[in-house]
């Protein structure tokens, strides 16, 4: 998540003080990611350094009372950031995926094996997290931003549960085949599979 660019986006609507930016950011992301004021000013300083925002100096007695506004260069930067792909090329290092892959590799086939126990434990915990987000969503006073954030988390967790289901189904239907360890050629640390995905 880029706080810096999110602040830039907020400033594209109107000029704002640091405190206002903090409040607006939190409201628009369903209060899922609380910011501290320090983070806000660090980001603003970087944006100012890069020429993407300017602080109005006139009539300001201290930093906290200086409204910031976006520059034309900032508008261009924001447009690029909103459209550039997220981290979709390299698969992110997902801790859950790693744990399951390791559990499966340790003991792949016994019926009541470590794998099934580990899979079920993660399935239960994912569903428990989903119950909590659903509870938040069921609150009749929840705003749209909060509903959308809850949905984002629910879809992410649902994907994890479905992946766990598919791993379990694979474990049940056949023997696991272990592929030979990939050879690392030269100093290129990228695995063949990552190279294929990133093409």
């Amino acid at each position: 998540m880029s706080v810096k660019h999110s602040l830039l986006a907020l400033l594209s609507t109107r000029s704002m003080y640091g405190q206002q930016l903090k409040a607006e950011f939190e409201a628009r992301t369903g209060e899922m990611w609380p910011l501290n004021v320090g983070q806000v000013y660090t980001s603003l300083n970087r944006l100012e350094r890069d020429g993407f925002v300017v602080a109005a100096a006139e009539g300001a007695d201290d930093d906290a009372r200086r409204p910031y506004e976006i520059t034309p260069a900032g508008e261009v930067e924001l447009g690029m950031w909103l459209r550039e792909p997220g981290n979709s090329k390299v698969p992110p290092r997902d801790e859950l995926v790693m744990k399951i892959m390791i559990a499966v590799s340790i003991e792949p086939d016994a019926a009541d094996s470590l794998s099934h126990e580990v899979i079920q434990s993660h399935r239960r915990q994912s569903i428990e997290a989903m119950q909590r987000f659903t509870h938040l969503k069921a609150d009749p006073t929840a705003g749209s931003a909060s509903l959308m954030m809850c949905d984002a988390e629910l879809f992410r967790l649902e994907a994890a549960v479905r992946w766990l289901d598919s791993v379990e189904a694979r474990l049940r239907t056949g023997a696991m085949v272990t592929a030979p360890a990939a050879q690392i050629v030269g100093d290129d640390m990228t695995s063949p599979i990552t190279q294929q995905v990133n093409q």
């Binding site: 899922m32 990611w33 609380p34 079920q120 399935r123 239960r124 994912s126 569903i127 428990e128 989903m130 119950q131 909590r132 987000f133 659903t134 509870h135 938040l136 969503k137 069921a138 609150d139 629910l154 879809f155 967790l157 649902e158 549960v161 479905r162 289901d165 379990e168 189904a169």
Partner: protein, 261 residues
């Protein structure tokens, strides 16, 4: 709450609805199909108790025994061993007529494909269980209209199922499931035929019904649907292998989230 109170010895024609009785209790339920080499154990020693106002989801893959569990809980199938009690009454103690009456009065069903009668309006569909139970038409229609209001469909009473959206049809089905004062809803993938936002409106309706005192058991493989439940139990190969902990308060949860990020 006193488990099993009233149970098998209760006179069947006085089906108590005391708050002390569990809307649904499965005790050591085992269901075996076939014999010998062809024997299939669909359920093995399943224990499940659903409290008044509780919404329980049963999750499991295809073939885990979910549907068998639902049909047994609804008295549509018998157990090989063990006991099913609805409002404290052992279903196996009932003769076919009493069993049918119990099903009609106590248990409402919601299916994936809505199962509304296309030639009847929404209000007539909802009134049907009442009329089958002997309520006169005028009263049945009035109560059905009231029940449709409770699921947010008071402006759809005269519509035929074909003129309703999928989500509206399923809410009509929920109204029908609850109209006779049935306190137990059994549902099989109730949002399976709906998109996610429409499915959510159906789950909100079911959740609200439970908040008002109905109880529900929903079988599903859909995690988003299951997450609406108070408790999720996991079924594998006919056995209950796990269940979720009681939900923490949302406040504690948010504090935890803030600390983690």
């Amino acid at each position: 709450m006193t488990p099993g109170q009233g149970s098998a010895n209760a006179p069947v024609d006085v089906i108590a609805t005391s708050n002390d009785l569990l809307p649904l209790e499965l005790q050591n339920v085992t269901r075996v199909y076939g014999q010998g080499a062809r024997e299939v154990r669909a359920l093995t020693n399943v224990n499940l108790r659903i409290r008044r106002g509780e919404f329980v989801a049963v999750m499991g893959p295809s073939g885990s025994g979910k549907s068998t569990l639902l049909t047994i809980a609804g008295g549509l199938e018998t157990v090989t061993s063990g006991c099913v009690r609805v409002d404290g009454t052992d279903l196996s103690s009932l003769n076919p007529t009493k069993l049918a009456a119990t099903r009609l009065q106590r248990i409402g069903y919601v299916f994936q494909e809505f199962n509304l009668l296309p030639a009847l309006t929404a209000v007539e569909n909802v009134a049907m269980p009442l009329e089958l139970g002997g309520t006169n038409r005028k009263e049945a229609m009035a109560r059905a209209a009231e029940q449709l209001g409770r699921v947010g469909l008071s402006d759809r009473t005269e519509h035929f199922p074909d003129d309703l959206s999928g989500g509206e049809q399923q809410r009509v089905a929920i109204a029908r499931a609850l109209v006779a004062g049935n306190q137990l809803v059994l549902a099989d993938e109730p949002t399976g035929a709906l998109d996610s936002v429409t499915g959510e409106s159906v789950m909100r309706t079911l959740r609200a019904s439970c908040n008002e005192g109905a109880s529900a058991m929903v079988v599903t493989h859909d995690a988003q649907l299951a997450a609406w439940a108070d408790r999720v139990v996991f079924l594998r190969d006919g056995r209950m292998i796990d269940e979720t902990d009681a939900a923490v308060t949302p406040e504690a949860f948010l504090a935890n989230q803030g600390g983690r990020r």
